[in-house]
Symmetry: C2
Subunit: 315 residues, 2 copies
């Protein structure tokens, strides 16, 4: 078997890499995504970097796995993102075949992340796994019997858009009360902006940690880890919602392991401690599940490792 | 292949039957469960009826599938029900082997119902299916890639105990805000009792349809189908909660078909019409799933048909 190329296109960063037939990385490169520069800019970046990687590979590369950070039409192997300008309906798989001369296999970043953590990360050897990506949005990938569950319309794992709240808050998807509206990175940042407007004296430490006036979700968790009162309050509010989502997954799918990935999950201990506290509050003491809840072992690279798996399935 | 024996033990009725190797019923008998009479009474009923069925079978019967209407320890093949007196920890599978001389295979009624509807009912030919039993309680069975999903602790499909509400209402399981507390038969009957206490003049038609002072969930749906105002209100309240549960299943699992079984589901059109209305209210117009939502084709017999499948897997 040959090496494969892996590509992960995210809203903040993009990554390309070469992986060996075991799914181990030989070379990984990362760049910042310039959303304003649009799709063609991104494709130029990918072309240049990928051609260099392909040229430098010790064995010929014939296949490429792709992770896209947004909705993907898996059957048609194209991007359906309506959020990122210029990508809607783009046949990314076909583009790779035509421009890089490689067979390709595309999935969204949550499914790719699930594959990555299952093969190379926190879920190695697990029969069933659910991977959550908690970043700007909230996505999920489900592995059952060692295989990715796509579902009838290739829409399984849409944990961000389960209706979770009685309040009926309108979500960016047009649905009501979706989990993503309460505990994604964007939701945390909206919440902290409201605090900053009402009580600017309470968010000073978060501004310092953010390195600018726009407070990041990462800074909220970091300030809470230091004991900052307002940040602690926001982390508790966020994780109580998220615990509801996790408990729903545990009750419906009862996976062996539940892996938390994406930028927000990198806060680590403070996230897990809060989630465990609220899971105890909500869950039945009589329905005892042994699902392990852990953070991603591959950090930001879970989707790239998963993209490598997508490529290896072709190779 | 030989015929098999199928047994379904429920809180209100029990059923025994003989099924042919294709999973078609040759003979089915039903009796009323006398909960007060306890476990030994039930076992005596089953012994007598099953021995008669076995004796009358045209081909020798060697295997028996069992559905139990309550929690089951699937790995240990025993009942774990803490609700029905005398059943907790009972090795029902072993009892069948010792008393009827048949190999046995036991599962809970929601998993059995899923198997039954998948093999012989509304989900024939579907690659993935979720079956909900909406009766006194609320349970679920999940079929992925044609196979029952048990989960890591054999606790998958526990849809009744997903945390659905912000209110934190305490559930009989000890958890908070569980779906079952809002839309099971028991929840409907609690709700109508509260109405009856506060506004006795509004529940007269429901009392007539129940045939006694205790208003049944069935009578609430029947009165709503006639246009009764209070019953319509209760059906709307109940189905709005249930729609949230269904949408969660669709988002997480995206099954080909979602089958509604159990006593409450037999109200049919009025249930489905209300669910579709609330699914439209809650769901995103941009995340379009084609999951079919239907009522059980086998009515009350879904778990018995599924028990036959459990037996046939052994035969």
């Amino acid at each position: 078997m040959s090496n494969v190329l892996a590509i992960d296109i995210g809203g903040t960063h993009f990554r390309v890499g070469v992986f060996d037939p075991e799914g181990c990385p030989l070379k990984v490169e990362e760049g910042d995504t310039d959303s304003a520069a649009g799709r063609d800019w991104m494709l130029t970046q990918l072309t240049t970097r990928c051609r260099t990687l392909i040229g430098a590979s010790a064995t010929p590369i014939q296949a490429c796995g792709l992770s896209f950070g947004g909705p993907v039409d898996y059957r048609q192997q194209r991007v359906t993102s309506v959020h990122a300008a210029g990508w809607q309906g783009f046949e990314l798989g076909k583009w790779v075949e035509q421009n890089l001369g490689l067979r390709s296999h595309l999935d969204n970043d949550a499914n790719a992340g699930a594959l990555g953590e299952h093969h190379s990360g926190a879920g190695r050897g697990a029969k069933s796994l659910v991977y959550l990506t908690i970043s700007t949005g909230l996505g999920g990938g489900v592995i059952v019997d060692g295989k990715l569950l796509h579902g009838h319309d290739c829409l399984a794992g849409e944990i961000g858009h389960i209706p979770i709240s009685d309040s009926g808050l309108l979500c960016s998807c047009g649905g009501r009360g979706c989990l993503e509206s309460f505990c994604s990175g964007r939701a945390i940042e909206t919440r902290v902006r409201e605090w900053a407007a009402r009580r600017p004296e309470r968010v000073e430490r978060m501004i310092q940690l953010s390195g600018g006036p726009e407070i990041t979700a990462k800074a909220v968790f970091a300030a809470a880890a230091e004991g900052d009162a307002a940040a602690t309050h926001m982390v508790r509010e966020t994780t109580r919602w998220l615990a509801r989502g996790l408990l729903i997954i545990v009750r419906l799918l009862n996976p062996e392991v539940l892996v938390l990935g994406g930028g927000v999950a990198q806060s680590g201990k403070i996230l897990l401690d809060n989630l465990r506290y609220f899971l105890e509050e909500l869950a039945s003491p009589t329905i005892v599940s042994s699902t392990r809840i852990v953070t991603a072992a591959l950090g930001n690279l879970s989707p790239l490792y998963g993209a490598a798996q997508l490529g290896l399935h072709l190779a």
